[in-house]
Symmetry: D3
């Protein structure tokens, strides 16, 4: 059984790899490399897999799950610049892929009922990524 919580946050970011020059970055990231940044309303969907506790009828209390996600992720990234303001993203190019993996690292150790199953991070209506902890 999998339970899923959906939360949102709004943030600015710029895609740029400082190891490479401006031409490389413009070619790879196009307008996502805009020097002053741009931004998104991100939607993060966190899934936890486990057995139903027969006493409560729940895998994990969704209020508790949402509190964990807020404390560990969304309160720390909401209304920030992801390139500059977030301690656990220092040195990370804030693509959706890298963000999903970084959020996984924040969340997996904090889930103590069931196990973290999947993070879906939606950047726009058209773009999203799914991460299930591969390569960890």
């Amino acid at each position: 059984m999998i339970v899923t919580a959906r939360l949102t946050f709004s943030a600015a970011h710029r895609l740029n790899n400082p190891k490479y020059d401006a031409e490389w970055n413009r070619r790879v990231y196009a307008k996502c490399d805009n020097p002053k940044g741009h931004g998104h309303n991100y939607v993060i969907t966190v899934s936890v897999q486990g057995k139903i506790d027969p006493e409560t009828g729940m895998v994990i209390d969704l209020k508790k799950l949402k509190d964990i996600v807020r404390r560990r992720v969304t309160d720390r990234v909401d209304h920030t610049n992801l390139n500059e303001d977030v301690d656990f993203l220092q040195g990370v190019i804030p693509t959706a892929e890298n963000l999903a993996r970084a959020f996984w690292q924040q969340l997996a150790p904090a889930i103590d009922q069931g196990t973290l199953h999947e993070i879906v991070l939606q950047e726009t209506e058209k773009n999203s990524v799914v991460y299930r902890g591969e390569d960890e």
Copy 2:
């Protein structure tokens, strides 16, 4: 190949385990334990897995699948109180997890083309569960 039908129903429920006292229930279920109940517009998404029939180009006729879901589940729970009005939910604490498992038990035997693959039950925009028949 998986085919998926989305249906909705509206119902009242209260989360409460009668084996425990009021204090336990308030701590575990918080405002979901409101004595007079509360309610939701549930969204149920039913997926069936199978091979494409080369004569029809379909795994299962979605009209037929929706008829099964309506007859076996949504017509029996729509505009009801899930704690009191539904025969197959007697004695079940109506959490989303328990509902998804109970709906699976109603639907799995009735699918005769392909096999039931997954039930997603969405309680609100923010909360949902996924059940794939584990432990059956």
Copy 3:
């Protein structure tokens, strides 16, 4: 200029006019008259009309508007039974129309920047009402 805030709440209700007998109520309200109730995830959208304050660039701070709606409406109706638990709905048949008008009466006096323009109350994906304070 109109600014709009969208909030949600989940509640149980039953449509029944105690002045009339069971047959009348069943004919008028059909399954919405289920004795043990049913429920919805309501979406309330509150619009305020006013001029842009040139110092702030805002008609009304949307955080402040949402605080008012929460304190005056959604915190009082969320996870309740609308027929029984809500003081300002005593004696009101909780149709979407009557709810929208009752919410208007709670909100209009509390808006002190701009004026309340419109309440949209969505009961399901398919049913909603719009109220602009007529007949007040």
Copy 4:
């Protein structure tokens, strides 16, 4: 008859009035005043009112309307920092209200079939504004 086109863009912004000190800005804009900015996926909905041309059955060709909105607004604000990168927003505090009015000024003169009726600018799922050209 009103015809409506929906477009999207993603941008960073910061709410800050440079006429006032940090304390004033923090009190008025709270986390929207984050110095490095934050961002949104904006949804802009542009409505044009007019008569149906009996030869074409259309008020205005929606492809043409969308071309105007792209050329005059969304191509100029998409993947930008609204405080710094957009010529027609110089000196404008980029609240949703001020953006809607600025977009109106860009669009109204360019609509030559029918007249611009309404701009809805949605900043998040929860916050939006409606502007109909008042005070122009």
Copy 5:
């Protein structure tokens, strides 16, 4: 008070004015003039304005309103070719504008509690029209 019902239908259509030649039609309608047609999932939202009946708490029973819309409009256009299969659309170029007006003519005389206020017809996520009975 306005009450609103949302219904859907799926249909094929082709935009083409037979009074004009192929070149004119291609220029005006572009790919919407594809000779074998294309199609949409239309969303029709019908609003009725009236007073709340104090006995029922309703302006008009939404079940009854939806029955009228189904019988007069959606059952007659769902899973059809709008250019060829629908009696009340003979000779009408099936643009969203013309469809909204034709649907209004079908619905307005059938609403006997309150009055028809507005029809919104959404052709795609990006394109819609609003009709309020002007010029009738």
Copy 6:
């Protein structure tokens, strides 16, 4: 890591197997067998699985992925009649299942970073299919 792009197209189709007579087709496909066709706004969601390139922080550039989907699929089916206008669908009964498999065959060879993981094809809000390349 899975990255996902969402695109849309609008098309007409008719479900009919010419090997069988009118009675068989009417029984199997019901109103989907309407001789002049009907249509949908399809939503296609394409997922690619791969490792994050540490230089770019991306599995595959979503702009590039969307260009592939447009060139290979949506530009060829948008505003067409799926039974008659599309070369790679000749002889295919255009059910959602058969379309998803045909789109897979167009896309899989063209993905050169990561591998095609899943195609979701949504025909209406209520009906969709998921294909992951089984039986290829």
